[in-house]
């Protein structure tokens, strides 16, 4: 039973999504229950697998149907994928629980179909994080992408156009990736990652132009998927127009899993030596990442719509992780991987908090924040923690990813990236304190309400407290607590998971 946990991680949500398409007549409650059950079981399997990986200190190789690689399909779960799997599982489960009200609102007629796509998307993401060969990775990439097109297009208004743009860009990205895999396959005759790594390390292939082209195509495809500046244009509209439940699922996970694929390709299929000595784009990529960080934050600063602001912050955060990965040292790599986990949770809690505020106020602009601390104290507190994490204030996890990234940048002498990280931190502080000031003290214009020295309002004043429903509030609070928890347990995460996956040659 325990040997089979790796396949359960993916199989459970896959079969749940099949079942979900069939149980329409049973009503939304059954569909919701089935989704939550499947996601919980899958998370349980992920956790069990992670425990096994940490205990044995070795990667788990799972051969589907006992067909041995390089012919059969192989799942490989090492320390890196275990961490990402658990992160995906937690985020998916929390946003699943959270979706009860908003998803029902947006999809009152076909909730079971919506949840089927939801589950299929999670299957694709989990699959990508555990796939052991590059072609299956492509298949799962397309599964999750197709599911996400469906989900995003369910949003209102201009969501169709935004999703269409995303569809075009996403397909181009996937095609680039597939083309690159084709080149690699022609040269090596293999698709299995470990096998590929073995073949690619041969002297004769190190200089090969075809391999270089293959790598270039693959990495460009992944960068499109991950919305690295300047390939990010599809992301803000697609994510900010989606329904609340969809945004909470997709925003934290899709781009982060793409970063994971980049790390896999760079360090598992190819090697650190090949990337930094043969390809040697490091300085260029770090410039791109720095531009992503700074421009993402500046554009976020200019937004009035809160969700759009958050999507531009995602663009900036992608720059953090890309830069960290290309710094070519242990601290930078640790920072990049840690930030995958941290940013997943950060984005999740901010999107959920903003979603709850929009749910109660019906307003997506920054005006909705006014007086939120008094009306929705728990939501506001989680928003505060998420903001502190983006800014990088200890002991939230955002501080520690910044710590490692800065350390890596200092060691690599990448001062442009150091400057970009610091500027981004300060910009984020301005962005969020502008909102938090309004959230804390209300609108400055109606001074009669906020100044009046003689009017004591110790929480129960004129404004009524009205939190979001419990199914939204609980996952929100858990995500907020997880930000602090991850920060406090940084040492454990780094020692037991990330250190094991640091590529050879650093």
């Amino acid at each position: 039973m325990m040997d089979q946990t790796p396949v359960f991680i993916i199989a459970i949500p896959l079969f749940a999504s099949l079942l979900l398409t069939l149980i329409g007549p049973l009503g939304p409650r059954v569909a919701y229950g089935l989704l939550i059950g499947a996601l919980s079981l899958s998370l349980g399997a992920s956790l069990a697998t992670m425990v096994r990986v940490v205990q044995t200190g070795q990667a788990i190789h799972y051969y589907m149907g006992d067909w041995l690689p390089p012919m059969g399909i192989e799942l490989v779960i090492d320390h890196l994928s275990a961490a990402v799997l658990v992160m995906i599982g937690v985020c998916a489960l929390l946003s699943g629980i959270y979706s009860m009200h908003t998803a029902g609102q947006d999809n009152h007629d076909r909730l079971n179909n919506y949840y089927a796509l939801f589950s299929l998307l999670v299957t694709g993401l989990l699959g990508m994080a555990s796939a052991g060969d590059v072609f299956n990775l492509y298949v799962l990439l397309e599964i999750s992408a197709l599911a996400s097109y469906g989900l995003l297009a369910r949003g209102g208004g201009k969501a169709y156009f935004a999703t269409f743009k995303y569809l075009v860009m996403g397909t181009i990205g996937a095609c680039f990736y597939l083309l690159g895999v084709g080149y690699i396959y022609i040269m090596t005759g293999s698709l299995n990652m470990a096998d590929l790594a073995d073949i690619l390390s041969r002297e004769s292939l190190q200089e090969s132009v075809s391999i270089r082209i293959g790598f270039t195509l693959i990495i460009l495809g992944i960068w499109t998927k991950m919305a690295l500046f300047p390939l990010h244009a599809w992301l803000p509209n697609a994510y900010s127009r989606a329904g609340t439940a969809t945004a909470c699922l997709i925003a934290p996970l899709m781009t982060k899993v793409s970063v994971y694929i980049m790390l896999r390709m760079m360090f598992t299929v190819f090697s650190a030596d090949y990337i930094f000595n043969q390809i040697a784009w490091s300085s260029l990529v770090i410039y791109m990442a720095s531009a992503a960080v700074v421009l993402g934050m500046i554009t976020a600063f200019a937004q009035r719509d809160m969700r759009k602001m958050l999507t531009y912050i995602i663009v900036a955060e992608i720059g953090y992780m890309t830069g960290g990965a290309w710094l070519a040292n242990t601290a930078g790599y640790t920072g990049a991987v840690y930030h995958i986990l941290a940013d997943g949770l950060m984005t999740l809690s901010l999107f959920m908090a903003v979603g709850a505020i929009i749910y109660r106020t019906g307003d997506t602009s920054a005006n909705a924040m006014q007086g939120i601390f008094r009306r929705m104290p728990i939501t506001a507190a989680v928003f505060l923690i998420g903001a502190a994490s983006i800014v990088g204030i200890p002991p939230t996890c955002g501080f520690f990813s910044k710590w490692y990234l800065l350390q890596g940048a200092v060691q690599a002498g990448a001062w442009i990236f150091v400057a970009a990280l610091l500027i981004a931190g300060l910009m984020a502080a301005i962005i969020f304190f502008r909102l938090l000031e309004a959230a804390f003290f209300g609108n400055l214009d109606d001074e009669g309400l906020s100044v009046g020295h003689s009017a004591p309002h110790s929480g129960t004043g004129a404004v009524q407290m009205r939190e979001a429903p419990l199914t939204m509030l609980v996952p929100l609070a858990v995500a907020g607590a997880a930000l602090l928890g991850l920060g406090i347990y940084t040492n454990e995460v780094v020692t037991y998971l990330i250190r094991w996956s640091v590529p050879a040659g650093f």
Binding site: I393, P394, F400, Q407, V418, L426, A429, F441, P456, S458
Partner: protein, 494 residues
């Protein structure tokens, strides 16, 4: 003496006392007396814990407690030594005095949002003790940021345009300094030396041999200006802006907790990260001494021009804070002792002055010095305390400030810095010039009509007057019995 295991727990209790009080204060918002009881209970517990550690520390022990191992090479660590003790004793004691005074002030003016106020007050005290007891730079940074954030609502308390503007400026300078300068400097330092623990003595530091001089200088500058709470020009601009806060906040936080945390962090980093040897070798001490000398003189001159009493006190604070850093920067044992003892002397004197300003406001609603003519005749205790505290600022015997001046001057002579002696003398003159007239006019000036014709103006309520007089008397006692605090300070330099 207590069992040894007690000394492992006491610092943690001292740290957490006010943190535990936060939820209690928050839930008893509707019962003001109960709410204030929690504040006093936490303050008393905190002070008792800090006090209980004195004997052990004076016996030459250093307590270290690992709280959480947060990064593979760094943990959140508490460390109690004589240097931190000085600051912890002062701030935990003054919390009790300030709590008394605050209750009187907030109720006297029927201020709004008192629960939020007391919650943030307690949080900021937790952060202050955290800074005093930090065992390494990361821990100190954590509590430093916690203090910036928890004092933000206090500064913005009035929520009007002025309050919010002041608070915005406050955060901009403090976060800008800490995120923009201290954080990268800390990470570079960590990359160089592999740890961030404070050194065991003030001479060696932790910077490895052979580090480039330029890099060390850049780090030094980043720490000196990055801890913007220390009010060194040009990072001082937040301080006058933050004076829009209610007076108890100005008193405790902007005369004692916040600014002293800034100075404490600067001194801690100078002495225990860089070390006297490195600073001496690269002439960083002299450079810092001249930078702060500029602040001392300029801030005093600006103070002369201010008619608003709190603004004058704010600039006086900026000037006096630099005394502390000046002492440390001179690097001779006497100067370092003079600088560190000024943490204590200035705290008691300045809190008295701010308390007086608040009492004057509560009693007469007057903010400007020019309107206070003759006010001393109806408020003799308040202005008497004000006079004593002014003497401490000026550095006249027998008040505490004299001890500071004495050690600083001896230290400057030892260091052979004639220019610094002149700065100290000029600053003393300026202090006389901007504090003297306040007291003189209050007692001997002709009362203007608004005071003589208004019989309602009398001393502030007793709950405010007691802390004022007590702080002033302690200020004098510190001058007569300097040994009480000097014994801690001497341990730092030996």
């Amino acid at each position: 003496m207590f069992p040894v295991s007690f000394y492992q727990i006491a610092p943690v209790i001292a740290l957490c006392a006010s943190l535990l009080a936060v939820p209690l204060i928050a839930v008893s918002g509707r019962h003001p007396n109960l709410r204030e009881f929690w504040t006093f209970a936490a303050a008393a517990l905190k002070f008792a814990m800090v006090l209980s550690l004195t004997g052990w520390i004076l016996a030459g022990n250093v307590i270290t407690v690992d709280l959480i191992n947060v990064l593979p090479d760094i943990s959140i660590q508490l460390r109690v030594d004589s240097f931190g003790m000085v600051f912890a004793l002062v701030s935990s004691f003054l919390w009790i005095a300030a709590a008394l005074y605050t209750v009187g002030y907030m109720r006297g003016l029927a201020e709004h949002a008192q629960t939020r106020f007391f919650v943030c007050f307690a949080l900021s005290l937790c952060a202050t003790i955290g800074v005093a007891f930090s065992g390494n730079l990361l821990t100190m940074y954590l509590f430093y940021e916690m203090l910036s954030l928890s004092t933000y609502p206090l500064v913005a308390h009035h929520q009007d345009r002025e309050g919010r503007g002041g608070a915005r400026k406050y955060l901009t300078f403090l976060l800008g300094g800490s995120v923009g300068m201290v954080l990268p400097a800390m990470i570079i330092l960590f990359s160089l030396s592999g740890n961030l623990d404070f050194a065991d003595n003030i001479y060696g530091g932790i910077i490895p041999q052979g580090t480039g001089n330029l890099l060390v200088t850049i780090l030094f500058v980043a720490f000196l200006f990055g801890f913007a709470k220390n009010g060194i020009m040009p990072m001082h601009a937040w301080l006058p802006g933050a004076m829009v806060a209610p007076t108890p906040v100005s008193a405790l936080l902007h005369a004692v907790a916040v600014v002293k945390v800034g100075v404490f962090c600067t001194a801690r980093v100078m002495l225990y990260i860089f070390g006297i040897d490195v600073m001496d070798e690269l002439n960083l001490g002299v450079a810092a001494a001249y930078i702060v000398s500029f602040t001392i003189v300029t801030a005093s001159i600006i103070a002369l021009t201010k008619d608003n009493l709190k603004a004058r006190l704010a600039y006086s604070t900026i000037s006096q804070l630099s005394y502390i850093i000046l002492g440390v920067a001179l690097l001779t044992p006497s100067a370092v002792q003079g600088g560190l003892i000024h943490i204590v002397n200035h705290a008691f004197a300045k809190i008295t002055l701010f308390f007086c300003a608040g009492a004057i406001y509560v009693a007469s609603r007057k903010k400007n010095i020019s309107e206070m003519s003759g006010l001393g005749r109806v408020m003799p205790f308040t202005f008497g305390a004000f006079a004593l505290a002014s003497l401490s600022m000026i550095g006249a015997p027998p008040v505490g400030g004299f001890i500071t001046k004495w050690y600083l001057l001896v230290g400057a002579l030892d260091a052979g810095q004639t220019a610094i002696i002149l700065v100290l003398l000029a600053s003393t003159m300026l202090n006389v010039a901007y504090f003297g007239p306040v007291t003189y006019k209050a007692f001997f000036g002709k009362p203007n009509d608004s005071i003589s014709e208004n019989p309602k103006i009398k001393e502030a309520p007793l709950i405010m007057l007691v802390p004022i007089v007590a702080a002033a008397i302690i200020s004098v006692l510190l001058g007569i019995f300097p040994h009480i605090m000097m014994q801690f300070v001497r341990m730092v330099t030996t």
